[in-house]
Symmetry: C2
Subunit: 283 residues, 2 copies
């Protein structure tokens, strides 16, 4: 129990005995998305939430990205795989009356930590009015970042699919890939593969080739807005030739039947029918 979490102390004298009652303040848990990695794409609310917190919890790499904001705070750094521990730690600390930020990159609401937080709280019978104050601070997710860097692929309907089969069976993922390909969705792929494990992306490519032209533009963006940023605009046909770009922080965007490559930028038309009307003399 951190002392800050005590709101006030009541001392009651009754019948020659003294009772000391510690009144705890209501704990707060901010689940904070810090965006793609550089401070500049973080929101003001994210910074404010971290600054307001006594305690910061997160995966070590994410904590490092906000090192300058956490001086003087109690910090719990976790390894990559300890998601359930991280979530429980953050909740317990908030339940004790602390103000806690659980930080992660991107948006915690998109394949992020906030889901696990709600699942655990639901198991505990939490409710909004009487339980800890919970706020998910949305951020710029990989789909927003990668689209911004590669052009304008998300001007039309799109599907977002994670290739990670740790938590979802592969046959379910494949069923979704098929539906996205069939529905002519621009398709954003999270966790496409690791350097050694690319069968998911190979299978996905095969399915798309049943419905789309081999020349369909495919973007591979690694480490968007980070030091390691790399991007390539290739095609469905040749997308597997860039295995060196695949990994934990890579996102793949497969175009739909209308997507085109303009000098290395991936563009989706909004559907304006007459090209002639596009350029207007404004002076």
């Amino acid at each position: 129990m951190v002392l800050k979490s005590i709101s006030f102390v009541l001392i009651i004298n009754y019948n020659k005995m003294s009772f000391m009652i510690l009144v705890m303040r209501r704990g707060k848990l901010f689940v904070v998305g810090i965006g793609p990695g550089r401070h500049e794409h973080m929101t003001f609310r994210a910074k404010q939430a971290i600054e307001e917190s006594d305690i910061v919890v997160g995966y070590d790499t994410y904590i490092s990205l906000v090192e300058d904001l956490i001086a003087g705070k109690l910090v719990y750094r976790y390894a990559m795989t300890q998601e359930v521990e991280r979530a429980n730690q953050a909740i317990s600390l908030a339940e004790e009356g602390n103000i806690v930020s659980l930080v992660s990159s991107g948006d915690p609401g998109i394949y992020g930590m906030v889901g696990l937080i709600y699942e655990i709280l639901a198991d505990k019978g939490w409710d909004k009015e009487n339980g800890i104050y919970l706020e998910c601070v949305p951020g710029v997710s990989s789909l927003n970042s990668c689209a911004a860097l590669i052009g304008s692929p998300l001007m039309t309907d799109f599907a977002v699919v994670s290739m990670s089969d740790l938590l979802v069976p592969w046959d379910m993922i494949i069923k979704r890939v098929e539906a996205a390909a069939q529905g002519d969705y621009v398709t954003v792929i999270y966790n496409p593969a690791s350097k050694k494990r690319v069968h998911q992306l190979e299978d996905t490519r095969e399915i798309f080739l049943k419905y789309r032209n081999p020349s369909t533009p495919v973007a591979i963006v690694k480490g968007a807005y980070r030091e390691s940023q790399e991007q390539v605009l290739t095609t469905l046909d040749q997308m597997l030739e860039h295995k060196d770009l695949l990994g934990m922080i890579t996102t793949v965007i497969i175009g739909n039947s209308a997507t085109f490559n303009y000098k290395g930028m991936m563009i989706n038309p909004r559907g304006y029918k007459s090209k002639y009307e596009l350029i207007k003399n404004v002076h």
Copy 2:
């Protein structure tokens, strides 16, 4: 031509004649997403881009949201329907050597203005190296905002579909809705309907009822993070009973087969198999 756009003036005397050469600076166009409306969910980069600009162009309502950042700047305010004019205006001003911000709410990379900008520039033969400097500043889009407010619906694969049939034929949209329903995608619906025109949402509901339980949770979020914010968590069965919430700034999220309603919050499990492992004693 704004005088600021002149970088320097060269005066050459040759054979008793004087030549004055105006050297223009290279123009810049920032296509800026300011997030859901309140400054707190804007990114630092968005603010910086607006501050760096000489000229701000945008739909009148969006301009009003950043009124405090634009003092002393030249401002072009447009009505809702003038998207092509807005885009051409912003490009022309940048081509003249100005630093221009074209602002919009949410993320300009998701059904936003950056697509039109690229389409017009491609028509003009623009290239990255010699043309105007172009930067899309990603922001918190409706899908990020609405998910954060309603719980954790986007912990699993999701499809994003716009119901607007102004630019995309309705039979294409219906095909995509069918694919999303079939693929058990959580489905985020942009531009669901206006108060008077709800047939798109009615048709969409009919299609989803072929594949999902009538009790499937459906979130309707209006004006996320704005003064007018309202949200309801209903079901596929009863979703049409909330027509008063539908409109230009409403987003609908239809859950998948695993989505549940926990005391008004929309939760998607991440797929962790054993509920027992969720709660861990961390002390």
